[in-house]
């Protein structure tokens, strides 16, 4: 252990422990590192987002090669902003505020450094593997299993370092910000492990332990709570610490903060299924998700009001204090996003908003407004304190604020407009009862101007964030050479000595001691008891998870099986993995909702029983292109070849990237047998013969498809190319339930 606490203490008070003074050095070097990482990765993540925005508005921007298409870059953007930008910001907040609230240095400098460099290593690994196409496809959980294991290790080190600092604290009571940190650390660990349970099929490939509707349920339990416990609770901790500091007055209502905390922890965990309304998720689960989402309205707004009212009597400071400006707008966006979220979870609203850019607007109001502005507010407050000099330019910080705010507004207004326009067009019927816009492309062309407005808004936000980078860089340049750790003197806490003495008391004294402890009530006792407190948080989040998820996994009625639905052929399985690798799921859903307009447009609605061999599920969450659940048999093979080579040749105004390499890259069947074997292990009814002959079966099917393509007048010799596997998979989509008998002779 490198260093624990540097204590230089005198004992002037002799036997009276309360007069002892201890000296504590806070570790601010680690906070500086996290602040710099926040800004660097934030700029990278935003830049990738900007590239994506341009690719959507102007498809030729996808032409940088196979590693830089929209499908490959989209998870890079989300992972970068969620885990690299917001993640590092959270760690900066936790390391700075926890040491001061606990009046103790972080338990171990080595662990802090391991956490920092480990986390940056994970980000670099993500930046390399995601464009290469190594992905689990589940949103915000795309990273493959080796990186997941490293993430677990780094998170455990962080948790141990944090909890041992709690043990070493000199302040008995845990301030509410620390509760939010505790809840975040515990819940993220649970979510990460449960949602990433996979069986590897190779170094960077795997199949999910769950299939179809189960996989979707677990994924959105995770996805929603990643938003809750990485982008909400730690940022609320940040708010409860840094806002009072910046405003120089205590939080408006501490009581409200207690209610805010427990409500969030209890309720958030139930809300995940609202991401799956009208899907083949059982109705009861979706309704539970909706009800709890609406319940979230209250605590979220309680928290927002608590934040804004903290500024009572300090509003004049906003005029020249950029930190407070960022905080006030950030908290306002928290209120907006947490009003909108419950509203979107109401099924009838969701029927319109889901799969459209409305969702994109919603998350960016949260990410740019709440997470972004709270982070920038914190950074501007921290810079002069961490680098021990004046901020280089307050004016530049104010410019950042205004440009950033205009950027957010342009972004979200454009996306609201695009989302609602497209949602209404998808469901519009003419007077004869037919779809008014049967061609999906019409609904894409209509929103293109809005995509350009988003590029403008995103550019402004990105540019404004670079100003923060300049400000930090220039301030750090003029900082004193010797940035030593700040040193404070605190009274040695009397309660620690009492703990030491506790072992010597007899039965009566122990009882009196307990009575004394309970004098101030059980919650106060709890606050001084972090281990028990943490367990209670774990119980609170587990109740919701278990009640919702376990019956889903166990009750057979939830997934009625369909006799004609059969496992994928080896070639189709390979094609599915190419679909996953190229990130097709970023823009195409495979989930037709039982709404009249969708059945009219795409065909019979999707059933839970259709996905029992889908590991992972590929339902998707956004329709930039049309749904593909019933694509099988809709077009001849040649159409798919032409469409993949150049989408404009079959759909003139398509914005889809071209995938010419699918026609030239050789199909790798090296792990096909292994894939079938893993599927068998997971309960998919392949025979041992099928697994043994997997390559032969795949090649035979590929040959047949290639022959048909040639017969239809297409290029020859495609039988060993990736395209045939992808076509095999796409032609299989949604056709099993149309059969009267299960497909007989399996390939």
């Amino acid at each position: 252990m490198a260093t624990v606490l540097e204590e230089v203490s005198g004992r002037p008070g002799g036997s009276n422990p309360s007069t002892e003074i201890e000296t504590v050095r806070y570790d601010d070097a680690i906070v500086r590192l996290f602040v710099m990482a926040t800004l660097i990765w934030g700029l990278v993540g935003m830049l990738v987002g900007l590239v994506l925005a341009v690719q959507l508005a102007w498809w030729p921007a996808n032409g940088l090669g196979e590693y830089f298409t929209y499908g490959r870059l989209r998870p890079l953007h989300t992972n970068a902003v969620v885990f690299a930008f917001a993640g590092n910001a959270v760690f900066a907040a936790v390391y700075y505020s926890s040491q001061r609230l606990l009046k103790a240095r972080m338990f171990s400098d080595v662990m802090s450094k391991f956490h920092f460099w480990g986390w940056q290593g994970i980000i670099v690994a993500a930046a390399i593997t995601l464009p290469m196409g190594y992905t689990q496809t589940k949103e915000y959980a795309e990273l493959e299993w080796p990186i997941d294991i490293v993430t677990t290790l780094v998170w455990v080190v962080f948790a141990v370092n944090f909890f041992l600092t709690l043990r070493n604290r000199r302040e008995k009571h845990l301030y509410v910000a620390l509760w939010f940190y505790i809840a975040s650390i515990i819940t993220v660990a649970v979510l990460h492990i449960v949602n990433n349970l996979v069986i590897p099929t190779g170094l960077f490939t795997s199949f999910s332990m769950y299939a179809g509707v189960h996989d979707a349920m677990i994924q959105w339990w995770y996805g929603h709570n990643a938003v809750a416990f990485l982008l909400t609770t730690p940022f609320l901790g940040l708010m409860y610490y840094f806002l009072p500091k910046a405003a120089d007055r205590p939080v408006f209502s501490y009581r409200l903060s207690i209610l805010h905390f427990w409500s969030i922890v209890f309720i958030y965990i139930w809300a995940g299924p609202h991401h799956l309304h009208y899907t083949s998720l059982p109705e009861w689960a979706s309704t539970v998700g909706m009800v709890f989402s609406i319940m979230l309205w209250m605590p979220s707004w309680g928290g927002m009001i608590n934040g804004l009212f903290t500024l009572r009597g300090a509003w004049h400071k906003l005029r020249d204090e950029p930190v407070l400006k960022f905080f006030v707008v950030g908290i306002t966006f928290y209120g907006m996003a947490t009003f909108e979220g419950p509203m979107m979870s109401i099924k009838t609203v969701n029927a319109l908003s889901h799969y459209t850019d409305w969702t994109v607007a919603h998350v960016h109001a949260g990410a740019l407004g709440w997470n972004g502005f709270m982070t920038f507010g914190m950074i501007y407050w921290l810079i002069p304190r961490l680098w021990k000099t004046k901020l280089w330019s307050t004016r530049l910080a104010n410019t950042h604020f205004w440009l950033g705010t205009i950027g957010i507004l342009l972004y979200i207004i454009a996306m609201y407009s695009a989302g609602i326009t497209q949602g209404l067009m998808w469901r519009a019927f003419d007077e004869t009862g037919r779809l008014m816009y049967p061609d999906f492309m019409e609904t894409v062309v209509a929103i293109m101007p809005m995509y350009w407005v988003r590029v403008l808004g995103g550019s402004l936000y990105f540019f404004s964030a670079t100003l923060c980078g300049v400000n930090l860089f220039m301030t750090a340049r003029s900082a004193p050479k010797d940035l030593s750790d700040p040193v404070v003197q605190v009274a040695r806490p009397a309660w620690r000595d009492r703990q030491v003495m506790a072992s010597t008391v007899n039965y009566d004294e122990a009882l009196f001691g307990l009575q004394d402890k309970l004098k101030h009530g059980w919650h106060r006792l709890l606050e001084g008891w972090p281990a028990v407190f943490s367990v209670l948080v774990l119980v609170a989040i587990s109740v919701g998870s278990i009640v919702e998820i376990v019956p889903m996994l166990l009750v057979r009625n939830n997934v009625p099986t369909i006799a004609t639905v059969m496992p994928y052929s080896p070639l189709e399985l390979e094609g599915r993995d190419i679909y996953i690798k190229e990130g097709c799921v970023s823009c195409h859903t495979q989930m037709i909702r039982p709404l009249r307009s969708e059945i009219e447009r795409y065909g019979e609605y999707s059933k839970a029983g259709e996905g029992i061999y889908d590991r992972p599920h590929l339902w998707g969450s956004k329709r930039t292109g049309p749904d593909l659940a019933r694509l099988g048999g809709k077009y001849p093979h040649l159409w798919h070849v032409r469409h993949m080579e150049d989408p404009r040749s079959t759909s003139p105004s398509s914005i889809m990237p071209s995938y010419p390499w699918l026609l030239t890259k050789s199909l790798d069947l090296g792990s096909t047998q292994k894939k079938l074997e893993v599927m068998m292990m997971l309960g998919v009814p392949y025979t041992i013969d099928q697994a043994d002959q997997a390559i032969d079966l795949a090649q035979a099917q590929a040959l047949e498809i290639a022959r048909e393509i040639a017969e239809q007048g297409g290029p020859e010799g495609l039988e060993d190319k990736e395209i045939v596997a992808l076509i095999a998979y796409m032609q299989r989509l949604g056709i099993d339930i149309k059969r009267e008998q299960p497909r007989g002779a399996r390939r």
């Binding site: 000296t23 504590v24 009581r255 207690i258 209890f266 404070v488 009530g521 919650h523 278990i546 057979r556």
Partner: protein, 62 residues
């Protein structure tokens, strides 16, 4: 087999128990927050503003 057992185990009661625990704990927390003594909540709310007494580096023993 496993699913048959689980279906006939009468698990519905667990959800109801969970709901009751949820509401009961919630009521306790609300009562606790409402009944909290003003001085105590004021003490707690001032915690971020009191970081300890900052001292100069050279005041500390070398």
């Amino acid at each position: 087999m496993r699913k048959d057992i689980m279906e006939h185990a009468g698990l519905a009661i667990y959800a109801e128990i969970a709901l009751i625990i949820f509401v009961a704990v919630f009521v306790m927390i609300i009562l606790r927050a409402i009944l909290m003594r003003r001085e105590h909540s004021q003490f707690l709310s001032r915690m971020p503003l009191e970081d300890g007494l900052t001292v100069e580096q050279d005041e500390v023993s070398p």
